[in-house]
């Protein structure tokens, strides 16, 4: 099991963007890299990576998903010599964590991983070699709240933010052994890392009861009405909390919220106000980075209009 060790240098980590960040989540990739540059943190792209399997491959066979994730971890650790990989996408982050857990605890999974790695011609990932962290952990461990506060050039004063974490960042608890470890650690019931970071960036954080509710991302196209219903719940709850913005930390949640906000309007005439911004976009604005470099103009919701209106751009 990997734990936070003081020797580890989180300022230079392997970076696993994943498929979504090359497509609909392009702005998340852009803003993550822009933030890294502004903070002097080094992201080394995992060489020749593959898809982690997202939400879909596990439904064909869960062990196959474990293999796909293990290949990425094998390259980052065995071939590139890293001990930390950072994944900004909840799906990638979750799958790498789950692979670490399953290879360590389930002989059947370890066997399939070893067999497929051998046939595919690369080293089998060895448990404990690599620590997988989320982009939120990365900011927390390199800067911490104080570090963020001291680097803020343009505080997000007056911007009311609801932080939305979704499902894959905290559930199920057994694949996140480092969470729920008391003060300083992340909580699976009431996650707060994004709240902490954006509060340090000067935003006004609203108490958002649906921060770990589901957006229906697994069925965004295969059962669109259900997804729209779940997203409308999320948007209305944020509105009721007085939020201007729903801050996101996952490309699938983010595009789900944006897509179904439009779909609710087009199909059901339900209009909702909150704009969606990646937490890296909000943090980037606070660090003084321009909206274009953060890809805010690529957001579907009225994010750019909002940040302009608030004088943040």
């Amino acid at each position: 099991m990997t734990t936070v060790s003081p020797q580890k240098d989180y300022r230079e980590v392997a970076y696993y963007p994943g498929c979504a960040l090359e497509g609909t989540g392009h702005a998340y990739d852009r803003s993550t890299r822009a933030v890294a540059e502004a903070l002097g943190l080094r992201l080394v792209d995992v060489r020749n990576w593959n898809c982690c399997g997202a939400m879909e491959v596990k439904n064909v066979d869960p062990k196959l998903q474990t293999y796909l994730s293990s290949r990425v971890m094998s390259i980052a650790s065995e071939e590139m010599g890293h001990d930390v990989v950072m994944a900004p996408c909840n799906g990638c982050y979750h799958n790498l964590k789950k692979a670490e857990h399953d290879i360590a605890n389930d002989a059947g999974s370890a066997e399939v991983v070893a067999e497929l790695s051998r046939k595919a011609g690369h080293a089998t990932y060895q448990v404990g070699k690599l620590e997988t962290i989320h982009a939120l952990d990365w900011i927390k461990r390199t800067l911490g709240d104080e570090g963020v506060r001291s680097r803020v050039k343009r505080p997000l004063t007056g911007l009311k933010v609801a932080n939305y974490y979704g499902c894959m960042y905290t559930r199920p608890r057994h694949i996140f052994p480092e969470k729920d470890k008391g003060p300083g650690s992340e909580s699976t019931a009431r996650p707060h890392f994004m709240d902490d970071i954006l509060a340090a960036a000067g935003a006004e954080i609203v108490d958002y009861p649906l921060k770990t509710a589901c957006c229906g991302g697994a069925h965004t196209l295969s059962d669109s009405d259900l997804s729209t219903k779940l997203v409308v719940n999320l948007l209305r709850a944020a509105e009721a909390c007085g939020a201007d913005v729903i801050a996101t930390e996952c490309p699938t949640c983010h595009s789900g919220l944006e897509m179904h906000q439009v779909r609710a309007e087009t199909r059901f005439g339900i209009t909702t106000r909150p704009a969606m911004l990646y937490f890296t976009q909000l943090l980037g604005l606070a660090l003084g980075i321009g909206p274009k470099a953060l890809g805010i103009h690529e957001n579907v919701s009225s994010a750019l209009e909002l940040v302009r209106e608030r004088g943040l751009a």
Binding site: E22, G23, R171, C214, S222, E258, R263, E265, V300
Partner: protein
């Protein structure tokens, strides 16, 4: 969210009489609703073994029926008929006919893992839902769900190239399910994106299809994955007593 167990009683087994007297006792009306007793003879004794043989269903025997999964469930909050605890109960007892009443909604599980997170017995109810949906399709009780079509479109691209390209997955899914790509809300969304993003860039995003993302030297992995998938398919069918030979050629 309370679990309305009354919904588990078949409506045709509820009888109310406008005017009825039995042994001199008036049993008319709503307050004397009768529930007809059921006699069950059609147990499928292999049901639990079959679900357990499919990926995700391995630990279904551990369930002690606490109901935490249903209580936490995202889909149950929208549709009370979506009841993981109850389906696990039916699987364990082999009550196949009863289970089939809900066959068309099992696939709607959104994999939010709220159930698996709270389950005190490590049953992995999320996995059981997937195993059950898989079982229903393999046994021919349900047609392939839109979710299965999506998973397979997605997975086939990963197996083929090592990566996916989202617009290709979307197009492939709409083609498989016979839906038009020009959905009103997708058009509305594209219009909104055009507010700040020049058409050129959007076109470039669409043209990604031409420069498909892929993982280099993926050939060996592709072959290994294909062999593994074909083997698992044979094993799954065999566990369900289905003709494995018909698929041996895959």
């Amino acid at each position: 969210m309370p679990i309305h167990e009354k919904s588990l009683i078949r409506p045709e087994n509820l009888t109310t009489h406008d005017k009825l007297e039995i042994d001199g006792v008036d049993v008319s009306g709503h307050w004397s609703t009768f529930i007809e007793s059921r006699v069950l003879t059609d147990y499928n004794e292999a049901l639990q073994d079959e679900v357990q043989a499919l990926p995700g269903g391995e630990a279904v025997h551990r369930c002690w029926q606490c109901g935490s999964c249903t209580n936490a469930c995202t889909v149950n909050a929208i549709n009370p008929d979506f009841n993981p605890r109850y389906w696990i109960y039916l699987i364990r007892l082999g009550m196949e006919q009863e289970l089939l009443r809900d066959k068309d909604i099992v696939w709607q599980c959104v994999s939010c893992n709220k159930c698996t997170h709270v389950c005190p017995r490590d049953v992995n109810p999320e996995g059981v839902m997937k195993a059950l949906a898989h079982w229903l399709e393999l046994k021919g009780h349900t047609a392939r769900s839109p979710s299965t079509e999506f998973d397979e479109e997605f997975a086939s691209q990963v197996f083929e190239t090592g990566k996916i390209e989202e617009s290709r997955v979307i197009r492939g899914f709409f083609r498989r399910t016979g839906q038009p790509l020009m959905q009103d809300w997708l058009i509305a969304m594209t219009r909104r994106m055009l507010r700040h993003v020049p058409v050129k860039l959007l076109l470039a995003m669409g043209l990604q299809g031409l420069l498909r993302p892929s993982t280099r030297s993926w050939g060996a992995a592709r072959g290994a994955i294909r062999d593994y998938v074909a083997r698992r398919e044979r094993e799954n069918r065999r566990a369900l007593g289905l003709d494995a030979a018909a698929h041996q050629g895959d």
